[in-house]
């Protein structure tokens, strides 16, 4: 086992390498490209016995990934943002093939306006595609989650593709110390690829992904996918448990930080949750009984565990790094859905949206959110959803608008 300083992208590439992937269909997109560049270099130098093919789009890339997995090899691919959405038709499709493989998404805000830095609207657009989703907060977690993801995808009770999500820039380009486990131990943990009956062979002709007529057979197959995804809850716990035994690192479906005696909780996904974690420490020092709950597994959603952890708290702030236009935060709806109908005292549930396209969430904003939910708990009423934006930001925005106005006026005054 070696400890090295690598980026989140590097950690993702190491995950694929250690999992012994056979096939990597690829297409470049910022901020994911370093992953495929790293894998390409390893393949070129004979350090990874795999084959990489650059397709002409992410739509084709995911098609090739699913088709290769359906033929019987271990597949890895990666994309981001616009690429994930360009491939969206095929996400639903290959999940329906029950083709098990792992894809990394490096989160990046969606156009328009076109942008580069992260939020979770891209990955959440794939929420109902049939791919399972693991969300990471550190580079170590990226590597570890990849290994867990292969076990999960290929498990006989699951057989679904898995997305491992990491945030662009904040993880993709940030170097952190990462323990790289030795290849032999990983090989023992991940195991050889077993195609089961999902494969093409001359001696065993098969029709895969055929059409159905009508809603009844369609519902049957989609319900089967849903039940397989639900099976993944127990399988995840089992695999994560084995991972902890083998490698000494726990990666629970829900990562609970200082939650035990907490009256107040932040709920957040991804690397920005590390900011919430730091805020929890500061608030604890100031006497608050507050913690952080970070869902790592979003699909399947660990509903019972969410209820168990959130029930009985005074108030919960769900901080969404995404915006469901016209509704608010996606995670907020998911958490509210998990809590509703639960017997026993429910927390006041407050919704905050922030961190779009990598907009910072400052420590002061976490303190403010803590105050808002404390007051809400006292009042016994959830506050209206808040879009995080500071007065300083608004002033900077007004400056940009002023410049735009001057430029426009100058342009229009020219003869």
């Amino acid at each position: 086992m070696t400890r090295v300083l690598i980026t989140g992208n590097g950690a993702a590439a190491w995950g694929a390498r250690l999992a012994g992937v056979d096939y990597v269909p690829a297409f470049p997109i910022t901020p994911q490209t370093e992953i495929i560049e790293t894998l390409a270099a390893w393949i070129d130098h004979g350090e990874l016995d795999g084959r990489m093919v650059t397709l002409e789009s992410e739509h084709s890339m995911v098609t090739a990934a699913g088709a290769a997995a359906a033929t019987g090899v271990r597949v890895f691919t990666a994309t981001s943002s616009q690429g994930l959405l360009y491939a969206m038709e095929m996400l639903y499709t290959v999940a329906g093939w029950r083709a098990p493989f792992v894809m990394v998404n490096v989160s990046r805000g969606l156009s328009a306006p076109i942008t580069l830095e992260p939020d979770h609207n891209d990955i959440l657009a794939a929420r109902d595609s049939g791919f399972l989703q693991i969300h990471c907060a550190t580079c170590q977690e990226v590597l570890d989650s990849m290994l867990i993801a292969y076990r999960l995808a290929e498990h006989e009770r699951v057989r679904l593709p898995v997305i491992v999500n990491l945030d662009g820039f904040y993880l993709s380009f940030t170097r952190e110390p990462v323990e790289i486990p030795d290849a032999e131990t990983v090989a023992g943990f991940v195991g050889a690829f077993d195609a089961e009956n999902t494969r093409f062979r001359a001696s065993a002709p098969a029709s895969q992904a055929v059409a159905v007529l009508g809603g009844s057979p369609y519902s049957y197959f989609r319900y089967e996918m849903h039940m397989a995804a639900q099976n993944a809850l127990a399988v995840y716990d089992e695999v994560a448990g084995q991972f902890a035994e083998t490698f000494g690192r726990r990666h629970d479906a829900l990562d609970a930080y200082r939650c035990d005696d907490a009256e107040y909780l932040f709920v957040m996904m991804g690397s920005f949750a590390t900011k919430a974690r730091a805020a929890v420490d500061r608030l604890r020092e100031a006497g608050w009984r507050i913690g952080l709950l970070r869902p790592r597994l979003l699909r399947p959603l660990p509903v019972a565990q969410l209820r168990q952890t959130l029930g009985g708290r005074r108030a919960v702030a769900v901080i969404d790094q995404n915006l469901a236009t016209g509704l608010g935060g996606v995670l907020y709806s998911e958490v509210a859905g998990a809590l509703y109908g639960h017997s026993g005292p429910l927390p006041v549930l407050a919704s905050f949206v922030g961190g779009l396209s990598g907009r910072d969430i400052a420590a002061e904003e976490f303190y403010e959110m803590a105050r808002v939910i404390r007051d809400a708990a006292k009042a016994g009423e959830a506050p209206p959803p808040r879009l995080l934006y500071t007065r300083d930001e608004l002033r900077e925005m007004h400056k940009l608008q002023a410049v735009a106005r001057v430029e426009r006026e100058e342009l229009e005054s020219k003869p």
Binding site: Y23, E56, H59, S60, G66, A67, A68, V73, A206
Partner: protein, 308 residues
């Protein structure tokens, strides 16, 4: 990287007498695409996996039935060639890593209509050729989005009436020259075929099968439903497409285009057009002489340009 094999098919009686494709499919009576597929599959053989794009033939394999003795994967409308890439690469990896014996290998074939081939799927097809994907690509071209009720596509011929070109002048555009677009990629093989000329088709498929790399086939697919004619006329219309010069039978190998059927005397195009309801407005209520002359002139100039 093409290599020709010895020709097995000299006359009609050399064609396979046992047929691999099952009957009772939901294709329309007189489907020219199914006719071509029957003939192609007999030669490709059952060690073939078809990767299909959305179109009429998607309905061939409906759970739990299939007319194929071999394998099938339905991909999506735009990306069947990428599906073929994934299957071919996976098979190659399994062979290379000795996780599968050579006897288990499969010929990978894309099966797609003109809607996907001429339009939405063209980018994926171009990518597959540029990577020299070792596969056979079969486009059954019925000159419109047939499975949705024959709206015009990029394959629709000039003046044809379709569900989205019902005016007196029919479709205003011109059929895209997909053969030349493909040939510009310099793949191993490109050919046009038609089910009504089974010997020419068989020779081309056999030739394609003996090669490595991207082998691209467009089969004109007379379509009783979309072209509006009696299903019993499918073979006649197919032959007329060739005899009038409307559908040139040709192949591209090693940078050269060769016409495999050259008519010494071409039949006037109106003999082909007048059998089809989609061109009836060119004859009724009055003959549209300028349009008929334009269509004839385009065919004549094509053949003049190729020196025939």
């Amino acid at each position: 990287m093409s290599t020709e094999t010895g020709v097995r098919f000299h006359r009609m009686k050399d064609l396979p007498s046992t047929h691999l494709l099952g009957t009772g499919t939901p294709m329309c009576a007189g489907c020219g695409g199914l006719e071509a597929l029957h003939e192609i599959y007999d030669i490709l053989g059952e060690k073939t996996v078809f990767v299909n794009a959305a179109g009429c033939m998607t309905m061939l394999s409906v759970y739990p039935f299939t007319p194929f003795r071999g394998s099938w994967l339905y991909a999506a409308m735009a990306s069947a060639p990428a599906g073929a890439q994934g299957v071919r690469d996976a098979l190659d990896i399994l062979l290379q890593k000795q996780r599968m014996t050579a006897e288990e290998d499969l010929q990978v074939a894309v099966l797609t209509g003109d809607g996907a081939a001429y339009g939405m799927g063209l980018s994926a097809t171009s990518g597959a050729m540029e990577r020299d994907l070792d596969f056979i690509y079969i486009c059954y071209d019925n000159e419109g989005y047939g499975n949705t009720g024959q709206q015009f596509s990029a394959a629709t011929p000039h003046a044809a009436r379709t569900a989205t070109s019902k005016g007196t002048r029919g479709y205003p555009g011109y059929k895209k020259d997909l053969f030349s677009i493909w040939a510009a990629h310099k793949p191993a093989y490109v050919a046009t075929v038609i089910g009504a000329e089974p010997l020419d088709l068989a020779r081309k498929i056999e030739k394609a099968q003996g090669m490595k790399g991207s082998r691209m086939i467009i089969a004109l697919a007379p379509c009783p439903t979309g072209w509006d004619y009696d299903p019993k006329l499918s073979v006649d219309i197919g032959r007329l497409a060739v005899k009038t010069g409307m559908w040139p039978l040709k192949e591209y190998i090693d940078g050269k285009v060769v016409h495999t059927r050259v008519q010494h005397e071409r039949i006037p195009v109106e003999e082909y057009l007048k059998l089809q309801g989609r061109f009836r407005h060119l004859f009724e209520p009055a003959r549209d002489e300028p349009m008929l002359a334009e269509i004839q002139a385009r065919v004549d100039s094509y053949w003049a340009a190729v020196g025939a």
